[in-house]
Symmetry: C2
Subunit: 213 residues, 2 copies
DNA sequence: AAACTGAACGAACGATCGTGCTAACATCTC
DNA sequence: GAGATGTTAGCACGATCGTTCGTTCAGTTT
């Protein structure tokens, strides 16, 4: 019964909402979620201010919807590609390299969307920070779970601290994004690529594992 | 001749400028440099909007002055304490631990000032980004130079890639700051502490060096 | 004492912000 | 057809933004 509606009024509304969010994630990844203004989105898209506003009900709801939209884009760009790869070291490595590519190719024009907006809201309690903290936790868990699979498969040492390892890998990815965007350089990505391989090798049962070549 | 002026009019102006900047770095470390508003600073400090404005000439100049003020605070909190420590591995480690303490003790209420505002401006060309890129480069160079001293002293292996090592260390520090502030946890600092020791040990000529105990 | 300098104030400017209202219009349900 | 429902536009609101201007007053210089 439920299923996707066929009501063309609702469909049109959803369509403009999507258009708004498409632009919103772009702006937010460069200038932050506070720089999102309803009037600006309206002008950019040739809509009326109240039209944009009506689609979300409040500025905060627009911001939250923007975060959700960014999560979908992130999942498509980083998570989906590694789904085919069998669990293990190779998948763990591909996940990291995929993230670097996601930053490097500017899936969001300002680099990683979440790096930008999390720094913006990490010290400001509220629904926005909660949503971003949840996103961060989810991402962290994905990395850790991927590493756990590799350990179960026997590719990582049994005494490896998965929390520390995930933390180290994510630290390298974010630092690469940050410095690459700031200085418009490619070197940070190369450094991160080398260092994350070293980190994985140090915990691998077989440092010569072909997945770490 | 030149020297610090004794003109009490100028001194008073400098004093209020300092008061404004003291509040400005607090706000910016939590909400970013765009959230700095002249009216708000004026109300917070019991001054008039035009009074605050006059002290800086433009909003952008106020933001730039805020960055400079933050650099001084950072230097006092992180750089000055390690000046006493003789060059070598011990100083390198102390620099990292000092940075973690600087973040942990909330020298700026929103965690590292530069992490917050660099994410805000890293994709927006202009004087602000230039100033922040310069700050980042300076800090990076300090870490690298400190490591270079340690290598000259024979504590680090001759083939160590100092750029990579500095990148790795800084990545750990910033990730710790980011996650600790976002989730209001202490664990990230502990993870960073453990991992940076491992990173240093891996490059040390003597992994059992007492400076890495 | 007169002339000058610099900090700070108060009032006003045009612009933009988020947010309400009401009306026009398309689309669905009956 | 009539009536309900949902999207979008137009207009106005109070608030706040950065900035300008003229004035006041403390302090320096001559």
């Amino acid at each position: 019964m439920a299923g996707p509606t066929t009501d063309r009024r609702l469909l049109r509304g959803e369509e403009t909402r999507r258009a708004v969010l498409r632009r919103a994630v772009e702006i937010a990844s460069v200038e932050g979620l506070e720089a999102l203004s309803i009037g600006r989105l309206a002008t950019d898209l040739g809509l009326s201010k109240s039209g944009v506003f009506a689609g979300f009900g409040s500025k905060e709801e627009l911001q939250l919807a923007t975060v959700r939209a960014a999560r979908r884009i992130f999942a498509d760009a980083v998570l989906a590609p590694v789904a085919d790869i069998p669990p293990g070291l190779a998948r763990a490595r591909a996940l990291c390299e995929g993230w670097l590519a996601y930053s490097r190719t500017r899936v969001f024009p300002g680099g990683c969307f979440f790096f930008e907006v999390t720094a913006e809201f990490d010290a400001r309690p509220g629904p926005l920070r909660d949503a971003l903290a949840d996103s961060a936790r989810t991402w962290h868990r994905i990395v850790e779970d991927t590493l756990a699979e590799a350990r179960t498969a026997g590719a990582l040492r049994p005494d490896t601290d998965l929390g520390d390892l995930a933390f180290g890998l994510i630290a390298l990815l974010e630092a690469a994004n940050s410095q690459a965007v700031l200085h418009e350089e490619d070197t940070p990505y190369q450094r991160a690529g080398r260092l994350l391989l070293r980190l994985l090798r140090a915990e691998a049962t077989d440092p010569a594992d072909p997945a770490l070549a």
